[in-house]
């Protein structure tokens, strides 16, 4: 008589991680089921290969230096820097994200017959994460993608932002058509977009870049 196959127990069986009574059950099944036996042999081979894969370990020095490093970062974090200045976090960073996305979209051409890969990638990345990318990049590049504090004052506000976003670094000026931004949303509120608004924005941006 044939009972249910026990595939899902086999990886643990092969590595000897089953409870004794479960193990007995598996052994009993294997005696009568060639399918599961051949599956078990496959898994044994793969798991054997995986067990031989040993990545190089970091030096002991690395681990002894880790705590001081973490402590240092915690200390640095608590001295308020410009990067975590509320003004920066609330306005400049989200705006930079908006600019960033748009610059990227305008620079990366997608062949028309290909599905725009941006949507799937950006779709599962939150604006927080994009923001993080921008922040990271801003720290080792010279042009300055992010607007500096003194430029804040010269930012157009509210409705005006829907029509254009000012300079990025020394070279790029990005203009955004009002229609690109879902109505009632200003770029600096990109963090507040809900999923469907963000989707719309991405879609519209995506369509524009498919040449």
């Amino acid at each position: 008589m044939h009972t249910e196959h026990i595939n899902y127990l086999l990886p643990d069986y092969v590595t000897g991680r089953l409870e004794p009574d479960v193990q007995k059950g598996v052994e009993a099944h294997l005696k009568n089921c060639n399918e599961c036996v051949s599956e078990m042999k496959n898994l044994r081979e793969v798991l054997g290969k995986i067990s031989q894969d040993k990545p190089y370990a970091p030096s002991a020095m690395y681990f002894s230096a880790l705590l001081p490093q973490i402590r240092q970062r915690l200390d640095a974090k608590h001295e308020r820097s410009f990067w975590i200045h509320p003004m920066f976090v609330r306005i400049v960073a989200p705006l930079a994200v908006a600019i960033f996305v748009i610059v990227m979209l305008s620079r990366v051409p997608f062949p028309a017959e290909q599905q725009n890969p941006l949507k799937s990638i950006v779709a599962d990345v939150s604006t927080d994460e994009l923001e993080q990318v921008v922040l990271e990049q801003s720290q080792h590049q010279t042009g300055g993608t992010l607007l500096m504090e003194n430029e804040l004052a010269s930012l157009p506000s509210g409705k005006a932002l829907e029509n254009h976003i000012t300079t990025i670094g020394s070279q790029t000026t990005v203009w955004i058509d009002a229609e690109v931004i879902p109505s009632g949303v200003v770029p600096r509120a990109i963090n507040d977009l809900d999923d469907s608004e963000l989707e719309t924005l991405l879609q519209q941006l995506g369509e524009r870049t498919v040449l």
Binding site: P11, I50, F63, I70, L74, I121, E129, V133
Partner: protein
């Protein structure tokens, strides 16, 4: 202090004892590093994740309630941060941010960057990298950490049912990847 339990350390820290946090780090740093390393496959990334985990832990430990164990809690933070890093890397790769922002850097190729590129991933690492998030998490926690399924369920905030299937399918996917890779040689 090394003989204190996790919960005692947490309580001491919550009462303002900073050194208790140091002991948490020392107790878990290697475990966390290796989980991170299995996810991101290279040392620098694992280092970043490990540091992030403890910084996040430091900031959230004040609110830690003993509903879950410290260990489960730290692993959950690690899995979340590691998966975020992988997604961010995907965006970076897609936009090739390095070229855009650091044209000089790419032309000359700083030693660090070149080394990074040369650091070849083993076939197994490449195979694991192709697993979907949940399968990857289950595989790393089950295979490398030998974590019981009940614990894995807590770390991933999911039910136990289905985890064995996830694990099985992860191993099968690695098997297929290896077969395909060998087929091309």
């Amino acid at each position: 202090m090394t003989d204190r339990s996790d919960l005692e350390l947490v309580r001491l820290f919550q009462q303002g004892d900073e050194s208790a946090f140091n002991h948490v780090v020392l107790r878990y740093q290697e475990k966390i590093y290796w989980v991170a390393r299995r996810f991101v496959n290279e040392h620098d990334g694992a280092d970043d994740v490990t540091q992030e985990v403890f910084i996040k832990a430091y900031e959230s430990l004040k609110e830690f309630r003993s509903e879950s164990s410290l260990y489960t809690w730290l692993y959950r933070i690690t899995v979340n941060i590691a998966l975020n890093v992988l997604r961010r890397n995907k965006v970076k790769e897609f936009f090739r941010i390095d070229e855009l922002f650091d044209p000089e850097d790419v032309e000359s190729g700083t030693p660090d960057k070149l080394l990074e590129r040369q650091e070849e991933r083993t076939l197994i690492e490449q195979a694991i990298a192709t697993l979907p998030d949940k399968q990857k998490a289950v595989f790393v926690l089950r295979y490398y950490e030998e974590m019981p399924y009940e614990e894995i369920a807590k770390v991933l905030k999911t039910s136990v049912g289905g985890l064995k299937a996830n694990y099985f399918h992860a191993v099968k996917k690695i098997e297929e990847y290896l077969k395909r890779a060998h087929g091309t040689h």
